[in-house]
Symmetry: C2
Subunit: 637 residues, 2 copies
């Protein structure tokens, strides 16, 4: 049903036919005259020529005297020349105009003063020495900048020096941003269930600003064909292009296509990209009108891959492309043959190789955009890419910043964010990037060379010891260290006041308590399964045993919002959400790190932080931690 009326046009073909229509039907932004001082970053609309020469007069380039050079021809130590002030010479300072009928400047240091306006020179001067002649830099009428040229600070200086105070530049395009939807509300921290916070227009406006486009954000329009159509028509009068967000799919409440079709014409609906398929490319009253899908990641991708080329075309500018980098794909990506898929990736420089790890591909996951270091494409007609493939990644961050990033993988703990924040506060060179994929995930990531450090808390069910046996098992060749970090308290998180009266794990069984579990491979899940087995509790007797959450904080969130009644997690999470906490046991949270990384400056920075007083203070503030010798290194050869 959905998408029934959509095409699935290849991106390149869709863009080509759209730009062709724009070329024949649309009004281009044109140009405007502005003050040269305001012209930084703009493009000249036509060639700029000097109005006056620079220097605009013959200027003395030294403090000294102006003379006629021919008066000194043949002068030497033994045959000096004597000159009279205001007749044969005039005193001048740097920057002064060379007096008429004089053609040379002698530095004051070379002048022998004889008093009473008379001086002696003992070296010959050449004509035009120490004179900046008229037009030395630029001559009136000379071209300073050709058309279509970026105006930089120096060009502003050159124009002003040449008497050009106003200049014709290409007008910045203005984009109309029209948010739509009955359920969509203005940004607020006080929203009701079912209300969707409208933040796409803020993201789009910021992206457009980076591309030198101004935005005009319209009020949120309800899902009403007439209102949407009227707003489009009004926006087309005021702006150079129009983005409607969203209603661009083909569902019951999707009016965007119809509104564009009734007000003008739809060129393409449905593009073979993911995310971003339900995109509409239309033209209304000589302006490009684009229906942008509503999920934030879809919207951002459509802006980058479709709106940006349209803007470059409207502005007739050579597009600035992001730098690209070759990287090794760390995990397999499965993709549909039917779409070109754009995948956001985290990049890490580990062992001098750049490793690209795909981020959450959900179109609604904004944080995947915040965490992304780059974007890669799985082309149309490919089913995916294998781990180990070399891929081209378009860089969102600077290569240097990626080189200075410590990549932490593994179990989630609040202390990782604390380290990240302290790192940035102490030293702006280094950053920390973390992904929460559970303790076992972290160990695998370090083994694969995707991460520098794995945060782990893995209980050996046989010995009751934490972490060491796992490190020994998964790194049989050694060259791995365990960096001791904290002891933390695990327990059952329950709503404030413990309304269900949960006192132990056995209370979770068969009494209508909605449990939320952690994902397989997480240290907390390992612990939970160990405890259940020890106490002889059947997992299937626990409602929600299969409901998986990825972090301590997300477990706490579900309990705080009454979507679940209990979950296993650390005290810190309970404290952060004001939940009650039933302590179960202490555990050790450490970092596994390959021996060779301990030599890296960025890992030094990490080690310094976990040993610091600042870090202990942060742990105290969060609560639930005990530290013994943080930063102690246990080596496994």
């Amino acid at each position: 049903m959905a998408y029934a009326y959509m095409q699935n046009t290849e991106l390149g073909i869709a863009l080509e036919s759209y730009l062709k229509e724009i070329a024949s039907l649309c009004v281009f932004p044109g140009c405007e005259e502005i003050d040269v001082c305001d012209a930084l970053g703009r493009y000249t609309a036509k060639a700029v020529f000097a109005h006056i020469s620079s220097p605009h007069y013959n200027a003395c380039a030294m403090d000294g005297i102006a003379i006629r050079a021919k008066d000194t021809f043949g002068v030497t130590d033994t045959t000096p020349v004597f000159l009279k002030e205001d007749v044969n010479f005039i005193r001048v300072d740097t920057g002064e105009a060379l007096p008429m009928d004089f053609d040379s400047v002698v530095m004051i240091e070379e002048v022998v003063e004889l008093g009473e306006g008379r001086i002696k020179l003992v070296t010959a001067a050449s004509p035009w020495q120490h004179v900046r002649q008229i037009g030395e830099d630029m001559c009136a009428g000379e071209m300073i900048l050709p058309a279509n040229t970026l105006i930089e600070p120096a060009s502003i200086g050159a124009m002003i020096a040449a008497g050009v105070l106003k200049t014709n530049v290409k007008r910045k395009p203005v984009a109309a941003l029209i948010p739509t939807g009955n359920e969509v509300v203005k940004p607020s921290a006080d929203v009701l269930p079912g209300q969707i916070i409208e933040f796409n227009s803020s993201v789009f406006a910021a992206m457009l600003k980076q591309w030198n486009v101004d935005s005009k954000v319209f009020d949120i329009v309800p899902d009403d064909l007439c209102l949407i159509k009227d707003t489009i028509i009004k926006a087309c009068e005021q702006c150079d292009l129009v983005l409607i967000n969203a209603g661009s799919s083909a569902g019951r409440k999707d009016f965007t296509e119809k509104a564009i079709a009734e007000a003008g014409k739809v060129v393409v609906h449905g593009i073979a990209i993911r995310p971003g398929k339900p995109t509409i490319l239309g033209i209304v009253n000589g302006k490009p009108v684009i229906g942008v899908p509503g999920y934030p990641v879809s919207g951002a991708i459509v802006l980058e891959k479709i709106v940006k080329p349209v803007i470059d075309f409207l502005a007739a500018c050579e597009p600035v492309r992001r730098p690209t980098l070759s990287a090794l794909l760390s995990r397999r990506i499965v993709s549909s043959l039917k779409y070109a898929e754009f995948v956001r990736v985290k990049l890490g420089e580990v062992n001098d190789r750049i490793i690209a790890t795909p981020l959450n591909r959900g179109a609604g996951i904004i944080t995947s955009m915040v965490k992304a270091d780059g974007l890669m494409e799985v082309p149309l007609n490919e089913e995916g890419m294998e781990a180990g493939t070399t891929v081209d990644v378009e860089l969102y961050k600077r290569h240097d910043d990626i080189k200075n990033t410590t990549v932490v993988s593994g179990s989630h703990d609040f202390l990782i964010d604390a380290v990240s924040d302290i790192m940035r506060r102490k030293n702006t060179k280094y950053s920390l990037s973390s992904s929460h994929i559970g303790s076992m995930g972290g160990i695998i990531a370090v083994k694969r060379g995707e991460a520098h450090l794995a945060g782990i808390h893995l209980l050996d069910e046989k010995t009751g010891e934490y972490n060491t046996s796992y490190v020994r098992k998964y790194f049989p060749d050694g060259n791995i260290s365990l960096v001791k970090c904290v002891k933390r308290i695990q327990g059952i998180l329950v709503a404030s006041g413990n309304p269900k009266g949960i006192k132990s794990l056995s209370d979770l069984r068969d009494n209508g308590i909605r449990f939320v579990n952690r994902q397989k491979g997480s240290g907390t899940r390992v612990l939970f399964d160990f405890l259940l087995e020890k106490e002889g509790i059947d997992p299937q007797s626990i409602e929600g045993y299969d409901r998986e959450s990825y972090t301590h904080i997300s477990v706490a969130t579900l309990i705080a919002s009454k979507s679940a009644d209990a979950g296993l997690g650390v005290y810190t999470a309970a404290k952060a959400y004001g939940l009650d906490f039933v302590p179960i046991c202490d555990e050790e949270y450490d970092f596994a790190v390959p021996e060779e990384f301990l030599k890296l400056d960025r890992i030094d920075c990490f080690m310094d932080i976990i040993k610091s007083a600042e870090f202990r203070l942060a742990l105290d503030f969060m609560g639930g931690y005990r530290v013994d010798k943080p930063g102690e290194i246990i080596r496994f050869r």
Copy 2:
């Protein structure tokens, strides 16, 4: 005398001691709370945490019905389940809140409608399917960004989604720009000799803007110690750092050092860099105060090499460094042992090598800043660098743009600017860069691989033919072509109305006529010397024979401004300046181009332009040209 009181401190040492003093004496800009929507490009002052979860409710991710998953356990085609509306299911749309006590969404496509509020399902649903659970993206209390982090469009979206509408960011530093000097006047095209147009503060403000620093430009202060000191003190109250331009040397009218010393303290005066030596680093009332030299190139270098590090230090930001590139130095650079010299270079990709050609090193030549593609350094204690040395160049332009630039060297003609402008108007991908070093200079540049094309008009005195014999002589191995371009008229440029009554070259002799010549190696100089010899005129009988100018237009400028009476040049220059013109002869202006370059796309673009109607129109407008078969290629094997 000048510089008598200046030190010559090494740049690194000067900066180190200055930053140390700033650290102990200065007030840092601190932070401010702003709307998240305005935060693009700013840095977080402290970590940002989510106020609410995103989604902030369990949201249906499909249009369909909300059910309790356990009602469908075991359901198959043959054992369907029948559900009743508002009891066992509720109809929902994408984005709506999942109703309380329901835990799963079934897509409308899978629902078999039976009428009267009853439906049938034939597949089991799993709990939480098609539901975006609370906090799936971010949980309340979770860290979104650590401190000291650049805010990008996606971060703005994430903050708003998490209910964070205002955020603490580092305050942008504000720089005071104080222009000084009795002779300095506000920008205008209507200035008197001796008046210096103040454009440095516009250049500095634009550079600072690129570094995220706001500027406050003060009125021009006369050369008066008290006024300068008072303005510094006032500026220190209003701004985070102060730049005084200029008076930073140690001359008679240089008050900047004294003003800083009296108002606060001078840390360093005189830095071992060129240009930029007369720089003062001081501190007044807890603010860095820097005396910046007055020549525009010196000022810009001091901003890049000294002010920028100070700003990075004040802002506690990791400096963004320009990319660098290895290039081959095309010409020898002679430099003083006493200074680190920063040399602006033109870059050209010729034969897959990047060639760096030093630009005019005059500190007053603004156009060298406009033309520069990059900056290289000749270190302290080196006497210079030989041609052919591999040098590191800090890039001002993008590498791609350098690759798409056609490098033209050789004789100056207005038509080169016309081609450059048409090229930018036709196609924003390609650019043309030109240096005017005379016909012979152009031939040498092409031979050295510094340029793609040489614009030449070289008369063979024996045959009276243009260009061909030179190309044969200088490219004995062939593989060179001559691209025919225009015939143009050379003659004597004289003031309007020809007040000196000049009718021929012989009139230039010994009668008080101030001639201005072209530089050796230029085609016009070759022609002039040929004509003088032919007519038996002694060069030394011509006043100004040794006064050399580098372009037709600069000759015209000197005559128009009455600094000279006559010069040899093309009709176009006379027409542009409204000068009278005594025609002498026709000549041929062509381009020498190595065979292999004719295959390059960018040279194709050049060739298309010189064959175009647009180019002919430009020639007609400028006047003095005749074209026969422009673009015709004569090959020399």
